[in-house]
């Protein structure tokens, strides 16, 4: 393939990643959110594999494979199962209404591009221009965690943030050393596992997954 093509393809996937982040902000249903999360993982895995292929950085193939197994297959499946079992797939209104959230999101994207500009100028990778997108994905996921009051959307926000960080690592430096990447993947896996247990505990105790019940511990 001509080098310009795969570069454009990577940029396209990066744009897709950002688009999915916005779609997540607007999604009201939990099941829809999980699907979007799986698509985000797919875009991430595809772009990582593409970078691996075009630059010959073979360890990135492992990284792409880990993303594919964990974030596209295992985790969404696990979340679907929880949603089905607990029957929580209802429309949920975020704390701030969706148009406002979108506007805040746009401001965050501009901020990220500004912050990433000096760094991406220094980077020598083929996809340095996407660092801003990576940072934007992280911040948008952060925004989603703030505006949602339900347990599962918050967890998905947390994982979307992890996606953004992986993308940042790939675009700035062709990924972290493999040992570190494996360690991070292991931590994320354990985190999801712990959260699964946790979600059942919350449900058992509060009879709901709405975190509004969990606002007792405050400084008065």
């Amino acid at each position: 393939m001509h080098p310009a093509y795969h570069l454009q393809l990577i940029n396209l996937l990066a744009a897709l990643l950002l688009l999915i982040s916005f779609a997540m902000l607007a999604q009201r249903r939990v099941a829809g959110l999980i699907t979007l999360f799986a698509w985000q993982g797919t875009a991430l895995a595809a772009s990582t594999a593409l970078v691996a292929w075009s630059t010959g950085q073979h360890h990135l193939y492992y990284s792409a494979a880990i993303t594919l197994t964990l974030k596209v297959i295992a985790m969404p499946w696990y979340f679907y199962r929880i949603v089905k079992k607990l029957d929580v797939n209802r429309v949920v209104e975020p704390m701030i209404n969706i148009p406002t959230t979108m506007l805040i999101g746009i401001v965050l994207v501009i901020f990220s591009f500004n912050l990433a500009l000096p760094i991406s100028e220094m980077s020598g990778t083929v996809m340095r221009s996407t660092l801003g997108i990576a940072l934007a994905t992280v911040l948008l996921a952060f925004l989603m965690m703030i505006t949602r009051t339900k347990a599962i959307p918050q967890v998905i926000g947390f994982l979307a943030m992890e996606n953004g960080l992986f993308f940042a690592a790939t675009s700035a430096t062709y990924g972290m050393p493999l040992v570190v990447e494996l360690g991070v993947a292991l931590d994320v896996l354990v985190a999801v596992f712990v959260l699964g247990i946790f979600i059942f505990q919350i449900r058992e105790t509060f009879d709901s997954l709405d975190l509004k019940h969990m606002e007792k511990l405050k400084e008065r």
Partner: protein, 483 residues
């Protein structure tokens, strides 16, 4: 060699207790693994004193005087806490707060937690440091919610989400650090090794390092409990089982601070100015002031001492931020003393709350009448943490304040005022708890007070006399940090 024992023992312990942790003697086995870890740590320490800093395992582990003292401290407090938790958790189970399944989870996670902290302290790789910190968090999330009360679930959720976000920011900082390092050291596993980075720190790109440090400080700072990202800390400390509060407060906060200090050394080298120090002073001072203001309003005894931990971690961060030989020395000393004293206080508080069945301070009264040793333990612990001579905390706080007068005179009145307010509020609340009137009967069992008096004895000793080898050790560590 010792390093593999040090990390292998807790790992074996967690697997063993995960399988057999519901047996009758599990608490004793837990303590035995703690003792073995402590022995491994002691051997490692002797080796370092004897031979100086060393790199082990093809560069994967790096031990110098700075982290070896934290390793010993961690192993020691982990062991004494296991001793304390032996009778304590048995009684909690008898009160029906726990079943055998949860006890198994508790023992197994406890060992993973200790192992993860030791890995974080000894690893040479800044990426693995991050992985170990996250593992330590995950191991304690389910411990905080061990009682499954609504409040404990809320605390654990908050702990998970806030620390998760914090640690994600730290990961971004680590990525930036790798980005800066890769230019000089080339890509691959060695570019994140702290010793390699330390050798080339003057060549690292300043703008990237600056940004990396901001992310690392905010990320790990969440874990230290620095304001304004501290809000998980009092909840997690108050709602979790007391042994967990003791190790969170005494050990985990130290380990998170350790990560920040390691990064600071690199950033200072790259920038050549005191940007990192100023940021740390700012966050530290804010934490001290905010925590002391909130201490006054607390009604729950564990929450109050949790805020006191924020105050002390803020003070230590401030001291490291000032830098220089004396401030670093004082900060290291204060780290040791805070960890010993605060865990001792949590041990006594644990028994006191078990006795009254509540954590409300207004309901805990007259400990000295019914259980004199418990009462004295709490009183002496409180006096020690408030910085009264002859306890060691006085010496380290004195050193920090006098250095601040020289270097950052603007901060001194704030610090003094904060320490004064903390003194008045904590002492005023603990005094009736110890000396007031009570009708409650004494504890029907023997409280585990050996660890308490062991810790307080050490704190007293460090106030009166620092053994020469220990002083040399602290001084070496202080120099390593650029004193």
């Amino acid at each position: 060699m010792e390093i593999y024992w040090l990390l292998g023992i807790p790992l074996t312990g967690s697997i063993f207790l995960g399988l057999w942790g519901s047996r009758r003697h599990a608490p004793e086995i837990n303590a035995a693994f703690g003792l073995l870890t402590l022995l491994a740590a002691a051997f490692l320490t002797f080796r370092i004193i004897d031979q100086g800093p060393m790199i082990v395992g093809a560069g994967w582990f790096f031990i110098d005087s700075f982290n070896v003292f934290l390793v010993t401290l961690t192993a020691f407090v982990a062991f004494t806490t296991a001793l304390f938790s032996r009778p304590y958790m048995r009684i909690e189970a008898e009160h029906g707060k726990l079943n055998t399944q949860r006890l198994r989870l508790y023992h197994s996670s406890y060992q993973i937690f200790i192992g993860a902290m030791l890995l974080a302290l000894t690893t040479n790789n800044m990426g693995i440091l991050w992985v170990a910190m996250e593992a330590a968090t995950l191991a304690t999330v389910l411990l905080v919610s061990l009682y499954r009360t609504p409040a404990s679930l809320e605390a654990a959720w908050k702990y998970f989400i806030l620390c998760g976000v914090g640690i994600a920011l730290a990961l971004f900082g680590t990525i930036l650090l790798y980005f800066a390092a890769e230019k000089i050291l080339g890509s691959g596993g060695t570019a994140l090794l702290w010793t390699h980075l330390n050798d080339v720190k003057a060549q690292l790109e300043p703008t990237v390092m600056q940004l990396a440090f901001v992310f690392l400080l905010v990320g790990y700072g969440t874990k230290i409990g620095l304001a304004p990202l501290h809000s998980w800390l009092p909840d997690a400390h108050a709602e979790g089982p007391t042994p967990v509060s003791a190790v969170l407060s005494g050990l985990l906060l130290n380990v998170a601070l350790y990560a920040v200090i390691r990064s600071k050394v690199l950033v200072d080298g790259a920038l050549g100015n005191n940007m990192a120090g100023s940021l740390m002073m700012g966050f530290g001072l804010l934490s001290v002031v905010l925590a002391t203001l909130l201490i006054r309003r607390q009604t729950d005894v564990k929450r109050m001492f949790a805020y006191s931990s924020i105050e002390h971690m803020g003070l230590i961060t401030f001291a490291f931020g000032m830098g220089g030989a004396v401030a670093n020395f004082a900060a290291l000393l204060h780290m040791t003393l805070h960890s010993l004293t605060k865990s001792a206080i949590f041990f006594t508080v644990g028994h006191a709350t078990q006795k009254t069945g509540t954590q409300l301070m207004t309901d805990i009264r007259g400990l000295i009448k019914t259980n004199p040793t418990l009462g004295w333990g709490l009183m002496l612990g409180t006096v020690a943490i408030l910085g009264m001579p002859p306890f060691g905390v006085f010496a380290s706080e004195f050193l920090i304040i006098t250095t601040a007068m020289h270097e950052q005179p603007w901060a001194t009145p704030l610090l003094l005022l904060a320490l004064g307010v903390a003194f008045a509020s904590i002492f005023g609340k603990v005094q009736p708890m110890v000396f007031g009137e009570t009708e409650l009967p004494k504890l029907p069992y023997q409280p585990a007070l050996t660890p308490v008096f062991l810790h307080l004895g050490l704190v007293l000793m460090l106030g009166l006399y620092i053994p020469p080898y220990l002083a040399v050790w602290y001084r070496q560590a202080a120099q390593l940090l650029g004193g």
